[in-house]
């Protein structure tokens, strides 16, 4: 197997090494920590809401390319969505990673995050890809 280029592609590399979403928000409404002891990946997610809409989001932290890129791309995808839409997208992403859905129409909602669809070929890295999504899931359910 290789398929490496599908995973470590330009999009993921750019987001992991030079993310514009990696910063602190001026005024965050919520902050949640995510940690993957396996890798030592650590992220801190910040969200600013405007009513029911995710107005802004950012992250800080460190870890492997997959975890950092997944966080940054997730932020791009969820920004501007309503909380309900976001929950739906998060659910779809997790299902995609676990190979529980192949419905292309649903997957389109993920926008760039669809780049992670082949991560299940690298089982050791699935947790890295899911870290941010589980973290936001916890946050949205609060």
């Amino acid at each position: 197997m290789d398929g490496l280029d599908e995973i470590y592609n330009d999009l993921i590399m750019e987001h992991s090494m030079n993310s514009y979403n990696k910063k602190k928000l001026d005024k965050a409404d919520y902050c949640e920590l995510g940690h993957n002891p396996n890798c030592g990946d650590e992220i801190s997610l910040e969200v600013k809401l405007n009513g029911n809409i995710i107005e802004d989001m950012a992250f800080t932290g460190h870890g492997c390319a997959i975890s950092q890129a997944s966080t940054s791309i997730m932020i791009d995808t969820l920004k501007g969505k309503t909380v309900e839409e976001a929950k739906e997208i998060v659910k779809t992403f997790i299902e995609m990673i676990k190979r529980e859905t192949k419905n292309e129409e649903d997957l389109e909602k993920l926008e760039d995050a669809i780049a992670f669809r082949n991560i299940s070929n690298m089982p050791a890295r699935v947790k890295c890809a899911l870290l941010a999504w589980h973290t936001i899931e916890d946050m949205l359910n609060k």
Partner: protein
């Protein structure tokens, strides 16, 4: 003699296995010995009056004698079987540490201890009100004589030291540490997990009070470990786990315990593991430590040289070759070790990445994880070449994105 041929998994999976520091592969001779045990000798040792059970007992006890001889213990009563090094270390912490440490006493560890020789000591020092102090490494990734002499004091009652670091590969000067600790009245617990697979151990010559190791890092099955302790110390200690063969008489409210070594072996033991460990020792002795050191020296020296040529990696090894065993930690600058390990994996190169159960050590160096290649007698220079080309591949994938 082609050693690799004894390890079917290396061919069956077509891998470059560089994670022997985590666990070694097992030679056919060990696997066959276990098979043979189940087909011809299996019964619960010590428990039956029939011939088969006596045979199982004999295999079990003969292996204890073999291990005593292998590490030059005075008596086979000094060899206690456990699940692994971690259990051996917990036994010492609970049965020796809890009963012998008093308020204001000190326990001294090296900062490079595996969590298994660190967390139990945090527990017992907290419980007993004693202090936990550390010997730190210098910029050559070694513990200096001055550090040893400044940290081990009259107040020190226990010193815990890994013979070889599982992250740095540094061989600690345990002769010096043991001598110095004894002079100050402390006992020394040596974690031999990463040394005994590679070098001849003589516990009497070292004068170690305790010496522990795991079978699975020296060609044996998972789940079998050894605790060596000086008889006079073990005799005075209370049992750790209770029940099964470790008793003598049990009354409704009182129990008297068996003598050594059974006193520390509660419940039905891992006889298959003991059999495998015995076969592993035979295998190591047949090849001989001299030969093992020669093979490893050639492969590891080559790895050190080749890795040193890559200017884009950080290496965490001592420059003093004679103090370095078979473990090499490295990072590609700016690339997370898990990504490097994943890319190496696609080339069939198995290395570990992470904190290697040594978080305080990595924190003291100022990093949170490394890639670790660890070598054993079945590795060759070709394995090193595969490692190097895998690292080059990873670097080339990341090169244009790396931000330092």
């Amino acid at each position: 003699m082609n050693i690799k041929d004894d390890f079917a998994i290396l061919k069956n999976r077509n891998i470059t296995y560089l994670d022997s520091g985590a666990t070694t592969q097992k030679p056919r001779q060990v696997i066959n010995a276990i098979n043979n045990f189940y087909e011809n000798t299996n019964a619960n040792p010590h428990r039956g009056a029939y011939t088969l059970s006596m045979d199982a007992t004999e295999v079990y006890e003969n292996t204890r004698k073999k291990i005593a001889k292998f590490i030059n213990a005075k008596s086979s009563d000094e060899i206690i079987f456990s699940k692994n090094a971690s259990e051996s270390l917990n036994l010492i912490a609970y049965s020796y540490g809890l009963d012998n440490l008093n308020k204001d006493d000190e326990v001294v560890l090296s900062i490079m201890e595996h969590h298994s020789n660190l967390v139990p000591w945090q527990f017992v020092t907290k419980k007993t009100g004693s202090k936990l102090n550390y010997m730190y490494i210098n910029d050559e990734f070694e513990i200096s004589d001055e550090e040893i002499e400044s940290k081990i004091t009259e107040k020190t009652k226990i010193v815990g030291i890994t013979h070889v670091s599982n992250v740095l590969g540094t061989i600690n000067n345990i002769q010096k540490i043991i001598k110095y600790a004894h002079k100050k009245g402390a006992i020394v617990v040596v974690d031999g997990s990463q040394s005994i697979p590679h070098m001849k151990i003589d516990v009497q010559n070292l004068d170690a009070d305790f010496f522990v190791f795991s079978g699975h890092k020296m060609l044996s099955p998972l789940g079998i470990g050894v605790l060596y302790g000086k008889k006079e110390i073990l005799n005075k200690m209370n049992p750790f786990l209770m029940g099964g063969d470790m008793i003598e008489y049990v009354y409704e409210q009182e129990t008297t315990f068996a003598t050594l070594p059974n006193k520390f072996e509660a419940g039905t033991q891992n006889v298959e593991g003991v059999v495998g460990l015995g076969a592993a020792i035979d295998y190591i002795e047949k090849i001989g430590y001299e030969k093992i050191e020669e093979i490893e020296n050639e492969v590891v020296s080559y790895a050190r040289e080749e890795l040193s040529k890559l200017e884009y990696i950080d290496l965490y090894i001592t420059p003093n070759k004679e103090n370095h065993s078979s473990v090499i930690s490295f990072n590609i600058k700016g690339v997370h070790p898990h990504d490097t390990a994943s890319i190496l994996d696609t080339e069939g190169v198995c290395v570990r990445s992470g904190n290697h159960c040594a978080q305080p050590l990595l924190r003291s160096i100022g990093i949170d994880s490394t890639c670790r290649a660890s070598f054993y007698l079945y590795n060759t220079k070709e394995d090193v070449d595969k490692l190097i080309s895998g690292i080059e591949k990873a670097y080339n994938m990341f090169k244009k994105y790396i931000k330092l």
